[in-house]
């Protein structure tokens, strides 16, 4: 069916941009929203498929997003025993929700991508046998390299151009509009198809590199009627020194953990994060000391990941000799797993003309109910980028064909409607930046605290839903502004919309599974080995969909009978 599916969006005030004068108007076959790894791979792939491509980033393509200041491991696994073992290990850890076929095709595409990067001059290190080691990407260098590749491919890059809403024409997505941060001027890109690659949502937790990831991907798509999956698996937290942002897991390779009285952190009761979260909720301060490993191994970390040491070097603390307090920062859906449901091998969504890549998409097909960190996410950003870019280019070409003039004036002169509601077009008066800040703090109260989100209860989930309904109503009425204030207002709305999808989905999972840790539900219920799908902005709808193994079982039954 064509058209935004969210019943509520019919009441959204919408503006026709067709005749609006002023501001920048660009035309493209494919618009990519977001310039992290996923967006840059998508732009390259679309350009290679013959499309004219514009890439718009809220920040600066090359430094922006979760990967740029970090370091990501990736799957570099040719077919063989090691790959088979990793596939099996992943399936086993996924709590029944990962899909073998998607894991393997992501591994294959990531391998191709990493080889292409190496062939294209990314300086991978060499191992003892003189072979390049391609399973690790240093963020600043990787994204610097990607930017250069994207430019060489002829893509137009718009830095500091946050996308604020999608454009819609005759049942398909037709581009996006936003403002240029510096001038406050509106911009719009008319396009034959759009790839959403604007990352996940960490609710401004100050996890490394993630503050631009305010869930913009999700609200943009939700307003077009997109379906989400796995939003309940958003309770991933990254460990960092208490004063700092560096949530890179490698920092803690050599760490032991203690409570304030010097006693060791209890070794029983779940993984490291779970034990630290429990101690923190009980009112303890948790400390780390890097007292494991050998000096030459410490040196790998010092030389390989220098920003792991900035937080210590710059306060004059030796983390190998002195203990330091740690904290957990929300990594929401960045290293959590939920996002837009991918409906086709080309990373299409259920919305015609809308494709998705990276953390904007659900990664349940790869990791099921657990975190996508530690290789799946980085590999997915490459693979989903390649697929979505190609898929979007082909969609745009088909659109141009349908409209009767290939690559095409009609595609760009058709009347479009802007779909954006919350944060952009308040029902009542816009209340200004103080209100935006209050609203963000209110969303954070329902998403960041460990005793709300890391550990969950049915009662607290219900309360979060009620609180967020109120927050959403206030957002609809009063969030708005101009220029930068408009961008902040829209970010606040995106965070609220994301949080509502999270808790609506979490409420539908009456069990514990992976990152969805219900302290009032012991373990998983085999009958709930299914996906939780969600959609909507004002009115939310939640449903379930069968897990891959269940689908396969049904298919086998059909063959037998």
């Amino acid at each position: 069916m064509a058209g935004p599916h969210d019943a509520s969006s019919t009441t959204t005030p919408s503006t026709t941009y067709a005749n609006e004068t002023g501001g920048l108007i660009l035309h493209a076959d494919v618009l990519v929203i977001g310039g992290g790894p996923a967006g840059t791979w998508a732009a390259l792939s679309a350009a290679r498929s013959g499309a004219k491509v514009v890439l718009a980033d809220k920040g600066y393509c090359g430094t922006s997003g979760a990967t740029a200041p970090s370091n990501t491991g990736a799957w570099y696994l040719p077919a063989g025993a090691a790959r088979d073992a990793e596939v099996d290990r992943r399936l086993e850890k996924s709590a029944g929700l990962a899909d073998r076929r998607w894991i393997i095709r992501t591994m294959e595409e990531a391998l191709r991508g990493l080889d292409e990067l190496g062939d294209d001059g990314y300086p991978f290190p060499f191992d003892e046998d003189g072979r390049p080691y391609r399973a690790n990407l240093r963020g600043p260098d990787y994204m610097n390299h990607q930017r250069r590749r994207v430019r060489r491919a002829g893509v137009t890059i718009l830095d500091h151009h946050p996308a604020l809403e999608l454009l819609w024409a005759d049942g398909v997505v037709a581009g996006a509009a936003g403002v240029e941060l510096r001038s406050g001027e509106r911009w719009q890109v008319r396009a034959g198809a759009v790839v959403i690659a604007a990352g996940g949502c960490t609710f401004l937790s100050r996890a490394l590199g993630c503050d631009g990831n305010t869930g913009d991907s999700y609200l943009l798509a939700a307003e077009a009627g997109a379906v989400f999956s796995g939003m309940e698996f958003s309770a991933q937290y990254g460990l960092s020194a208490a004063h700092a942002t560096i949530t890179k897991g490698l920092t803690f390779t050599f760490a032991s953990f203690y409570l304030e009285d010097g006693s060791p952190l209890p070794s029983e009761g779940g993984d490291r994060s779970t034990r630290i979260a429990r101690a923190m909720i009980a009112g303890h301060k948790v400390y780390a000391l890097m007292n494991k490993g050998e000096a030459h191994e410490h040196d790998w970390l010092v030389r390989g990941q220098p920003n792991c040491f900035l937080p210590f070097e710059r306060i004059g603390l030796d983390p190998f000799k002195e203990r330091f307090p740690v904290t957990l920062r929300s990594e929401g859906t960045v290293r959590g797993t939920g996002g837009l449901d991918v409906t086709g091998d080309d990373c299409a969504t259920n919305v015609p003309g809308l494709y998705v890549a990276g953390d904007a998409a659900s990664r349940e097909k790869l990791v099921g109910a657990i975190s996508g960190g530690g290789s799946p996410n980085a590999s997915w950003a490459i693979a989903s980028g390649v697929w979505s870019g190609r898929g979007a280019a082909q969609f745009a070409q088909r659109q141009a064909g349908v409209l009767g003039d290939p690559l095409s004036t009609r595609l760009h002169t058709r009347a479009v409607h802007a779909l954006g509601g919350a944060g952009l077009r308040p029902n009542k008066t816009a209340a200004g930046s103080g209100f935006t800040r209050e609203l963000i703090a209110a969303v954070q109260d329902e998403t960041l605290p460990l005793d709300v989100n890391f550990f969950r209860t049915g009662k607290r989930i219900a309360l979060a839903r009620a609180q967020l309904d109120g927050i959403w109503a206030a957002a609809r009425d009063h969030l708005g502004g101009t220029g930068r204030e408009l961008v902040r207002a829209r970010e606040a709305a995106s965070m609220a919309a994301t949080a509502r999808l999270v808790w609506a989905s979490a409420q539908a999972r009456d069990e514990s599974r992976g990152l969805h840790r219900r302290v009032d539900r012991d373990g998983s219920d085999p009958a709930q080995t299914h996906y939780i799908r969600s959609r909507g902005t004002d009115e939310l709808r939640v449903s379930t969909a069968p897990a891959p193994e269940a689908v396969r079982d049904l298919a086998e039954e059909a063959l037998v009978s």
Partner: protein
């Protein structure tokens, strides 16, 4: 958060203005940039990498303002320490070919 633009070192190239992912700086005609929106700084250290003359200092504190003393930072070679440890030079990427992180990853994989 970002705490310092060294007026002694800055050559007014505005690369930090261009590359900061959170748009924290504002360019000023014929002068060094200003830290215009410190509260938006995400403490990612990216600006230090792109500054060609080590004129910027980001304190590691995510939520707190801290006082910094430029002379001390300069003498203790903390200005530009991240750039040097990474192997970048004058705002240009470099050093991944010497990155030993793979040894850590292999160690961690073997440790289970």
């Amino acid at each position: 958060m970002i705490e310092l633009i060294s007026a002694d070192r800055c050559i007014e190239c505005n690369l930090c203005v261009k590359t900061c992912p959170r748009d924290v700086f504002d360019a000023v005609p014929n002068a060094i940039p200003v830290i215009a929106r410190k509260e938006d700084c995400q403490t990612c250290f990216m600006c230090e990498l792109y500054c060609p003359v080590d004129a910027l200092f980001v304190a590691p504190h995510a939520e707190e303002d801290v006082q910094v003393d430029e002379e001390h930072l300069s003498e203790s070679e903390l200005l530009g320490s991240y750039v040097r440890n990474m192997g970048w030079r004058k705002g240009k990427a470099g050093g991944t070919e010497r990155d030993p992180t793979r040894l850590l990853r292999i160690r961690n994989a073997n440790a289970g």
